[in-house]
Amino acid sequence: MPKIVVCYKWVLDEALIRLRADESLDFSAAEYKISDYDRNTIEAAVRAAQAIEGTTVGLTFGTAEAKRSIKDALSRGLDESYWINAPEASRADGAVTASALAGALSKIEDVRLVVCTEGASDTFARQVPPRLGALMDWPTITSVAELHIEGDTLTAVRKLKDSLETVEVTLPCVVAVLPEINEAPLPGLKAVLAAGKKPVTELAPADIEADLSPKVTASSTRAYLMSRKNLIIKEGSAEEKVAALVEHFHKEGLV
C-alpha cells in the first residue's frame, strides 16, 4: 500500500516561555506541543492518503521528550508513527534534521509523498523541506496552499510573494504546505483512544544513516524584550477610561 509520510515537530510552547528582565529565558513553566502549523499538515496528509488510497505515517526527529508527541499525532488521523529518538535533536540545525529525516525515510517502504510544514512554530526557518528534497534527490514543492492528486500526478498551487503558481509533478515528491491549506479538526475521543493502539516504530541514531553534527554554531540566546510605556488604565468609569486614552493619543499626535 502506498504511504504518505508526514514530518512533524514537537516544540516548546512559546506562549509559556517567560522572559526575565536580564534578558534570560525561563523555561520552567514551558510545555511541549505539536508545532501549530503541523496540525494542518497532518490533515493535508490524511486527505491526500484518501486520494491515493494509501496510508499515513507520522515521522518525528526529537529527544526522549518527543515520545509524548506520538499519541497526539496519531489521534489526528495518522495510521502509524516513526520516532527517531536522538539527544542530538536538542541542538539540531536544519542540516541535521533533514539528514535524520532522510535517513529514516529510507527505512520506510513505498513512500509516494512526504508532507512537511512550511516552517515550524519555534524556529520558523523553513529550511527542512527543500533540504530534504535535495538530500533524497526528490522533486520538492514549497509554499503549497492547495494540493490535488490524480493518479501519479500531484498538482499544487503555490502562494508566492505576489503570484499564485500552479505546478505539477509526478510522484514521489516532497511538499511543504502552508497552514491555510485546510482547517484541522480537533481529534474526537474515539480518535484519541484509537491512537494508543496504532503501531509505533522507534529508531535510534545508530539505526539510520545520517550526519547528526550541526553545521551552525549557536553562541547565545537572549530574550527579545520590548520596551513599551505600559500605561494601562484600570480605574474609573468606561467614559473616564476612554477620555484618558484619547488624551494619550492626543499627546502622541495620533489624533
Binding site: 536544519g94 520558523f124 505546478v167 505539477e168 551552525v216 553562541s219 537572549r222 489624533v255
Partner: protein
C-alpha cells in the same frame, strides 16, 4: 572564485544584497536565471552577473546546478532575499552543499571564521546569535543594507541543466483580497474577544474615525474565516510598522505581537488585565471592548 553570491526575485533586494557583498571586500556576484533578470542586475554595480541558462522557468529548479557551481568556486556565502522563492532556492542549495544555513536573519556580520547572524527563535520570544563557517547560506529581508552605486557589470552566461521534474502549469498575479496593511498608517486589530462576525462593525466604526485599516489575529482569518488571510497579523502573516496599532479583544500571543512590535504606538483594549497584550502595549484600557469601543469612536469624533 571565492566570494559572495546573491539572489532575489525582487530586483531592489538584489541591489541591497550586493551592497552587503561589496562592503565585505569580497567578490560580489549576482545570480540570475533569466535574461531579463540578468539585464536588470547588470546595472547594480556587481563585480559580475551570472546567468544560469536552462530550460526551466523556475529558479528553484537550478538549485543543483548553482550548488555545484558554488562548490567549484569555493564560494564564501550564498545570500538570498527572504521571499518564498528565495528561501526555497537557498535551502535547496544548502541541502546540496550540506552546509549551514540561517534563515531570515535580523543581522549579518562577516567574522574571521565565516559569518555571525542574529535570528528570532520561539516565534520571536528570543533572539539567537549563531556563527556559520564558509560555505554558508543565509536569507535576509530588505532594508538592512544600502544598494551600491550603479555600475556596468559583465554578464557571464552559463548553459546548465535544470531539474525539469516540477513543471510550471500557470502563474497568476496574487489578487490581494484584503487591504494592504503594510501601507496603513493606523491599524485596528480584532481578536477572539469578538463573539459574532456582525460585531466587527464596532471595529469598523472605530477604524473609520481613526482613518485606520482592519487587521486581525490568525484565528479570526483562518479558523473563523471572518476576514481574508491577507489581513491577519503575526509571524506567519503580515508584519507591519504602523504609527498606531490599536487592538480590540486580542489576548496578545507572541505570534501575533511579533507582527506589530515595530509599530510606533501600541494600544490595547481587553477585559483581562493579565492579558499579555498589555505588556506589549504603550497604552491600554482594561474593560469590555463592547462597551469601550463605541465610546472611543464617539469620543474620537469630537476631537
Amino acid at each position: 572564485m571565492a566570494g559572495i553570491y546573491v539572489y532575489s526575485d525582487e530586483p531592489g533586494l538584489v541591489a541591497e544584497l550586493l551592497g552587503f557583498a561589496l562592503s565585505t571586500g569580497k567578490q560580489a556576484c549576482a545570480v540570475t536565471f533569466s535574461q531579463e533578470d540578468a539585464d536588470k542586475a547588470q546595472a547594480f554595480g556587481a563585480d559580475k552577473v551570472l546567468f544560469f541558462k536552462g530550460a526551466s522557468p523556475l529558479a528553484e529548479n537550478y538549485a543543483k546546478a548553482l550548488a555545484d557551481y558554488l562548490a567549484a568556486e569555493q564560494a564564501d556565502l550564498f545570500l538570498a532575499g527572504m521571499t518564498p522563492r528565495g528561501r526555497d532556492l537557498a535551502a535547496r542549495v544548502a541541502g546540496y552543499l550540506a552546509c549551514g544555513m540561517a534563515s531570515d536573519v535580523l543581522s549579518l556580520t562577516p567574522v574571521a571564521e565565516g559569518f555571525t547572524v542574529e535570528k528570532m527563535l520561539y516565534g520571536g520570544v528570543a533572539v539567537l546569535t549563531e556563527t556559520l563557517a564558509s560555505p554558508a547560506v543565509v536569507t535576509i529581508g530588505s532594508g538592512k543594507f544600502d544598494a551600491p552605486a550603479a555600475g556596468d557589470s559583465p554578464v557571464e552566461t552559463l548553459e546548465v541543466p535544470s531539474d525539469m521534474r516540477v513543471r510550471l502549469v500557470t502563474s497568476a498575479p496574487l489578487v490581494q483580497e484584503g487591504v494592504d496593511l503594510n501601507k496603513a498608517e493606523k491599524v485596528v486589530g480584532v481578536g477572539l474577544g469578538f463573539s459574532k462576525q456582525e460585531d466587527l462593525s464596532l471595529a469598523e466604526d472605530l477604524a473609520a474615525v481613526l482613518g485606520a485599516e482592519i487587521g486581525c489575529t490568525r484565528s479570526i482569518a483562518e479558523e473563523r474565516k471572518w476576514l481574508p488571510v491577507e489581513q491577519y497579523i503575526g509571524i506567519s502573516g503580515a508584519v507591519i510598522k504602523p504609527q498606531l496599532y490599536l487592538s480590540l479583544g486580542i489576548s496578545g500571543q507572541i505570534q501575533h505581537v511579533i507582527g506589530v512590535r515595530d509599530a510606533k504606538t501600541i494600544a490595547a483594549i481587553n477585559t483581562d488585565e493579565n492579558a499579555p497584550i498589555f505588556k506589549a502595549a504603550d497604552y491600554g484600557i482594561v474593560g469590555d471592548m463592547y462597551e469601550i469601543a463605541p465610546l472611543l469612536t464617539e469620543a474620537l469624533k469630537k476631537v
